[in-house]
């Protein structure tokens, strides 16, 4: 139909010779143009309606035909039905013939049932690509297991805080119902698999987990929220199923009660179903909470990095009211920072009124003075803390060392493992080998004394004999007797010892030098905070990253043959962390360690 034709249809339909009322019976040129446009528009409308009517007619015919077909189906015997199908499929072979329009309908119907092939009807190339992959792989047979088809074990937490080169395969693998914050706490020291309600069972089966951890805090918010509440029985049931799967797979289950029990009173059954129930959190993760890069100027007034909780008991409420007032008290309420921001916020203030014991430890690890949770004496303690000014680094390091030994996440993990009977094995980040050459028999005795005096015992001692071998056995046996692995290599240098070492970290000790009891613990604590590739003593530099250092502890592989020369470590992107030994707790007998 041409434009003129359309206009004709429109004109005939709308009687254009009737005068336009507003135009007073005369069409101005512009109005004439508008009239043409209107006519065009009407023509299009009319055409559309014609086509619609035609389509309806066709549809009616089809509906009638379909009705005929249904009637035929209803009245036909199975034999006739088979004949119809056969005729449709192979119309060239003699036999009953279908009416042509029925045959076409069959073809159309078949086409509809089959649907478009790959590349057609997709919303995006991505969906088309996935469809092709699935078609080839025949996916779908897995059922709900398909929900976990693209789960990447440990992926989200692998890069949170730990160095990319650290191999945690020899460490603990923890699968669990965990908050993001807890995953971030565990990730530097363990392989973590955060399970979700819909894929938990499938992921657990394939995770190789050593233990399953159910964290109460994870049931308060996030994907598992309300799993302990009768209002979410569906999630609770999945939790119960998950415990069953873990038990069936022989994986111990630990329930970590790190949320107030009054918020989840309906979980008695869960505690009873677990191998161990442990109160408290996952400890202080020094890789996150540490004093590295403390701002030069920090807030001096006490702050409260939590929300005033309407669940505060009367006594706590009164005390907090006194301290915080309506924003005019001595303590400023800054609210709870998002978990990712906590370390940064804690480094920005010198004094905190802590909302919990756990928070106090994290704030202290970040170099702050922390008082609390609130008591009658908190006001005086806060005033004294503010008066004392910022902690100096030596003071902070003493706090860190205490946390490292008693409250850090690896300590907590060791405790959890012990509770469920897993082998007592330190996390990879705390396994250090002492590599030493023995020039004379007396060196062995000095080495043994130093090793056995360490607050953090090395995982192993690897020695090479740089002279007479006689007389070293007794001293080395003393070390072995304490459960520390000792090996004597046949080579004559650090590289040979490093080759034999199995611990991921190594310290090279000089023969005949006595090392203070805190030597290893200070170095490994610095390492745990910095997650560097090497830690060493650099005069005038303490708890900072550096470009060059002579390592006191480094990745074992860096001592092996073929490793880059130390002078190039910084240039090659290795992270080097400088510390100054503590004068009190870690006397260093020799200047040799210092560059």
């Amino acid at each position: 139909m041409t434009d003129d034709d359309k206009a004709d249809v429109a004109l005939s339909a709308y009687a254009p010779d009737e005068p336009d009322e507003e135009a007073g019976g005369e069409l101005a040129p512009a109005a004439a143009g508008a009239g043409e446009a209107a006519a065009q528009s009407m023509a299009l409308t009319a055409e559309r309606d014609q086509l619609t009517r035609a389509l309806r007619d066709t549809q009616r015919q089809l509906a009638t035909t379909e009705e005929q077909l249904r009637a035929a189906k209803r009245s036909a015997t199975m034999k006739l039905g088979q004949a119809v199908v056969q005729a449709a499929k192979r119309p060239w072979i003699g036999g009953p013939r279908l009416p042509l329009h029925l045959y076409r309908m069959w073809q159309e119907g078949r086409g509809l049932r089959t649907g478009p092939g790959p590349g057609e009807g997709f919303r995006s190339d991505d969906e088309a690509r996935w469809a092709k992959i699935l078609q080839d792989a025949g996916a779908g047979a897995a059922g709900d297991r398909f929900l976990a088809a693209y789960t990447t074990p440990g992926l989200p937490w692998a890069s949170v805080t730990r160095s990319g080169r650290e191999d945690l395969a020899d460490g603990l693998v923890v699968a669990g119902v965990l908050t993001d914050a807890s995953c971030a706490a565990l990730a530097p020291d363990a392989t973590v698999e955060q399970l979700l309600p819909h894929d938990a069972s499938y992921v657990l089966e394939g995770s190789g987990a050593d233990l399953m951890l159910i964290e109460a805090a994870a049931l308060l918010g996030g994907a598992w929220a309300h799993a302990g509440d009768p209002a979410a029985t569906d999630r609770g049931r999945r939790l119960a199923d998950l415990v069953d799967v873990a038990r069936a797979l022989g994986k111990p289950v630990v329930f970590l009660r790190n949320a107030p029990s009054y918020l989840m009173p309906y979980l008695d059954w869960l505690a009873a179903a677990c191998d161990a129930v442990v109160d408290g959190g996952l400890g202080v993760q020094l890789a996150r909470f540490n004093p590295i890069d403390l701002p030069e100027r920090r807030g001096t007034g006490p702050v409260y990095a939590a929300r005033r909780d309407q669940r505060e008991g009367p006594a706590a409420k009164r005390l907090l009211d006194e301290l915080t007032g309506d924003g005019s008290g001595s303590v400023k309420v800054i609210g709870p920072p998002p978990w990712r921001d906590e370390p940064g916020v804690y480094r920005q203030h010198q004094v905190f009124l802590a909302a919990s014991v756990e928070q106090a430890r994290e704030q202290q690890a970040c170099g702050a003075r922390a008082v609390g949770p609130v008591t009658e004496t908190s006001g005086q303690e806060l005033a004294a803390a503010a008066e004392a000014g910022p902690r100096d680094l030596a003071e902070i390091k003493a706090v860190l060392l205490d946390l490292y030994e008693t409250q850090a996440t690896p300590v907590r993990l060791a405790e959890l493992s012990r509770q469920v009977g897993l082998p007592p094995r330190p996390v990879p980040g705390r396994r250090v080998a002492v590599l030493a050459g023995l020039g004379e028999a007396a060196d062995a005795g000095v080495l043994a004394d130093s090793v056995l005096s360490q607050r953090l015992r090395p995982a192993e001692v690897v020695v090479w004999l740089d002279g007479a071998a006689a007389g070293v056995a007794g001293a080395l046996d003393r070390v072995r007797a304490e459960g520390i692995g000792v090996s004597v290599v046949t080579g004559t240098g650090v590289a040979d010892a490093a080759r034999a070492a199995t611990a991921p970290w190594s310290a090279v000790w000089e023969p005949g030098v006595t090392y203070g009891p805190a030597t290893l613990v200070e170095l490994m604590c610095a390492l745990e905070c910095s997650r560097a590739d090497a830690v060493g003593y650099v005069p005038g530099a303490d708890f900072v990253f550096t470009d060059v250092l002579d390592p006191a502890v480094a990745r074992t592989e860096l001592y092996r043959d073929g490793a880059s020369p130390r002078s190039s470590w910084g240039r090659r992107g290795l992270r080097l962390f400088a510390v100054t030994p503590s004068p009190v707790t870690s006397p260093v007998d020799s200047e040799k360690e210092l560059v």
């Binding site: 409308t45 690509r129 996935w130 699935l134 819909h198 994907a223 209002a231 979410a232 179903a273 309407q310």
Partner: protein, 756 residues
């Protein structure tokens, strides 16, 4: 309107006044005051009429005494056994003048078991169960099976708390839609003689009830001493005479007995002793409920603090409510249920003895604490009065029997409903079945196009009105076999509009075509050319009473999506919304409640469908913004309980006819967030409709305070109630049976483009 009739029986001896006996009394009174004719059948011969006296004076209440009336042989001194009770109830029901009772209210597990097994009262039961599994491990397959039978036999399952209701629905699918709340009823407080004692600087604590280890009664006796050490003068008044013998703690009885001190002389104890023992513990002995309440009324603080192992109960302690009725503050455990009752900031929650001491000390120093706590307990108790129970029962009766009465002698309208799949029509059929002016029959087609033609012909000959559910071959058939003088109504859903079936319908035989909204009415008119005067719009419905429940903590950050199959539901767009929100706030989560596409072979065989879901799942796992933020909850009928965790309901579909899920969400107080699919504005207020996922996310983020979100949710709830509440919509359906409704649309057949 004729009164409904109720038969009530509790497997409870009403001679012993305890919580369950008071429940029976309260239920009878609540039913009677809701306008019911109540027949109460007693379990045991009457020895005391203390509970029956108030009932005897209540209009419409009849008390049947099987033992005295000798309704059955072999009734023992303890009354009817559950099996005997079932037999008696059937007989009483059968013999009622005016026909069987409309409802049968039962309490007690063994009784319900017997009645359900007998089956005679099935379908009319209002069952109240307390001694049922209340934790996931206890809910075994056998328990679920039994509860399923009970639910199937019940019209309602009465639940004492929202917690129990959700737990039952989440565990027993058959219970969904049947569970309603019937909280404990607190009888009125007795008249308290005299005036309250003048403040004398002594804090009086009171405990009433049994003395048992898990009720912490022994620990309570230490309170006066501990408080004295802190300079607080306090007395503890212990009311009760039952000391528990604990097999795990054989010394408990003697220890507790010694801690109570000297008992009052017989007949005394109602008044405080002239001299209070030196340890501050005053044993007032056992008293009637009224007596105990009188003693409590003269105290300053009630004690309801218990061992934490009792916190897991899904039932509410009436003790708290009774103290509240007296205006007494109560020290009790902090539990989610108690927080919901009294507020999370209630100042008298305690976890340990030290807490109790600290609270009393604080209250002694600051009377404002006592005042605040008392106001909370009083307000809470006011929600559990008999009047409130009566209002509740009346609502349930109205929902259960939405009858439109007709004049006596009016011939019944014969209504037939024909179709292959009647699940969407279920609530409507139930409504029509209740109507005394109708006789309802169904012509259930074997499949979309298969039926028993003779049966259909008989139905067409019989019916005054035929409703064709779905506009398929059934509608075509009935339009060609319509009896002269009868009325034909076709209910058209979404898929038929795009199918060929409507073109086979003889429209001249059809009186009304029902679509869900104006958009589909218009689409139907355009596609079929049917006269617009015949096309009306009647929306889908929602059970507001079922959906309206308190939201869970954190619900504001949960987006809900119900149904993701087929791909035109567009989960990918929901993920866009979530990603956009999580860029700024990672508290947002997406909760999906849906079947899975691989469970539907006709969906999963399509490459474009598989591609859609695989791409979405891959994205969910690999996008840093989505990983861990999408939860696929189990599909199932427990939508009302599930909605408690949802703050925003998404509708991201390419097209929908109505999309009932967001309406259900609205009824629950969730805020709807609707993509602008064609016709959405015909169903939803345009304030909820958005053009793009980014706009949807912005609308969600804009409600960035709890107050704003709750306000928007309240508005949505009001809109859903007004427009889609089932009884209102069904009432229009009732009219439609005999009269034509105004057309939903007037399609101008030659209107100019853009002018509609």
């Amino acid at each position: 309107m004729p009164a409904r009739s109720a038969l009530v029986y509790g497997d409870v001896n009403l001679n012993l006044i305890d919580g369950s006996a008071i429940w029976v009394q309260s239920m009878v009174l609540a039913l009677a005051r809701a306008g019911c004719q109540v027949t109460l059948v007693l379990k045991a011969p009457v020895k005391t009429d203390r509970l029956l006296t108030p009932l005897a004076g209540e209009a419409g209440v009849t008390i049947r005494r099987p033992a005295e009336e000798k309704l059955l042989d072999g009734i023992g001194p303890n009354g009817l056994t559950p099996q005997q009770a079932s037999t008696v109830l059937s007989a009483v029901d059968r013999d009622r003048d005016g026909g069987r009772h409309d409802i049968v209210v039962l309490r007690g597990r063994r009784l319900v078991d017997a009645v359900v097994t007998d089956g005679d009262l099935s379908g009319r039961l209002w069952t109240y169960l307390t001694d049922i599994p209340q934790s996931i491990p206890e809910m075994t397959a056998e328990a679920v099976s039994w509860l399923t039978e009970v639910a199937n036999s019940s019209q309602y399952v009465l639940c004492q708390t929202e917690e129990l209701r959700c737990f039952l629905e989440g565990s027993v699918p058959a219970a969904c839609g049947k569970c309603v709340l019937f909280p404990p009823v607190v009888p009125p407080a007795p008249e308290v003689a005299g005036t309250p004692a003048e403040p004398d600087g002594v804090i009086r604590l009171v405990y009433t009830g049994k003395f048992a280890p898990r009720w912490n009664t022994y620990e309570m006796t230490q309170l006066p001493g501990l408080l004295a050490q802190r300079g607080v003068r306090a007395e503890l008044h212990m009311v009760g005479d039952k000391i528990h013998n604990d097999k795990d703690d054989p010394g408990y009885h003697n220890r507790m007995r010694a801690a109570l001190g000297e008992p009052p002389a017989p007949g005394e104890g109602a008044e405080p002793p002239a001299v209070v023992p030196a340890n501050g513990v005053v044993w007032r002995g056992g008293h009637s409920r009224e007596g105990a309440m009188r003693i409590a009324a003269s105290a300053d603080i009630g004690l309801g603090w218990r061992h934490p192992s009792l916190d897991a109960s899904l039932e509410l302690s009436t003790k708290v409510l009774e103290f509240g009725l007296l205006g007494l503050p109560v020290i009790l455990n902090r539990t989610p249920m108690h927080e919901a009752l009294l507020g999370a900031d209630y100042p008298m929650f305690a976890a340990a003895l030290d807490d109790v001491v600290a609270i009393v000390e604080s209250a002694a120093a600051d009377p404002a604490i006592l005042k605040l706590a008392a106001s909370r307990t009083s307000a809470a108790a006011a929600e559990y009065t008999l009047d409130q129970a009566s209002v509740r029962v009346r609502r349930y009766l109205d929902d259960a029997f939405p009858r439109i009465e007709v004049a006596p002698g009016t011939p019944k309208l014969k209504v037939a409903v024909a179709g292959h799949d009647l699940k969407f029509a279920g609530p409507l059929l139930e409504y029509l079945r209740q109507q005394p002016g109708l006789e309802l029959r169904t012509d259930h087609w074997i499949s979309l196009g298969e039926h028993d033609e003779q049966a259909s012909q008989a139905m067409a000959d019989w019916a005054d009105v035929v409703i064709c559910e779905w506009c398929g071959p059934n509608a075509i058939w009935y339009s060609k076999h319509k009896r002269k003088g009868s009325r034909l109504i076709i209910r058209l859903h979404r898929f038929e509009v795009f199918a060929r079936y409507p073109y086979g319908v003889k429209i001249s035989a059809v009186d009304q075509v029902v679509t869900v909204d104006k958009h589909y009415a218009q689409l139907t008119a355009e596609k079929t050319g049917w006269p617009t005067s015949k096309i009306v719009a009647l929306p889908n419905t929602v059970e507001v009473g079922q959906m309206d429940r308190p939201k869970l903590d954190g619900a504001r950050f949960n987006l809900g999506l119900v149904g993701i199959v087929p791909s035109r539901k567009r989960i990918d767009l929901a993920l866009d919304v979530l990603e956009e929100l999580r860029r700024d706030d990672e508290r947002y989560l997406l909760c999906v409640k849906s079947g899975m596409p691989w469970d539907l072979w006709w969906i999963w065989q399509k490459p474009e469908e598989r591609g859609h879901y695989a791409a979405a799942l891959h994205r969910i796992q690999r996008s840093p913004l989505l990983r861990g933020a999408v939860v696929f909850d189990e599909k199932g009928p427990d939508v009302p309980a599930w909605l408690r965790r949802v703050g925003f309901m998404l509708s991201t579909s390419d097209d929908e006819s109505f999309h009932v899920a967001p309406v259900e969400g609205m009824a629950s107080g969730a805020v709807p967030v609707i993509r602008h699919w064609p016709g959405a504005e015909g169903v939803y207020d345009t304030r909820w409709i958005h053009e793009t996922p980014a706009e949807m996310a912005a609308a969600i983020a804009a409600l960035d305070t709890e107050e704003q979100w709750r306000e928007a949710g309240a508005l949505a709830k009001a809109q859903a109630t007004e427009a889609y509440e089932s009884r209102q919509v069904f009432a229009v359906w009732y009219r439609l049976l005999t009269e034509n409704l105004p057309p939903a649309t007037s399609v101008a057949r030659y209107s100019r483009p853009g002018m509609r």
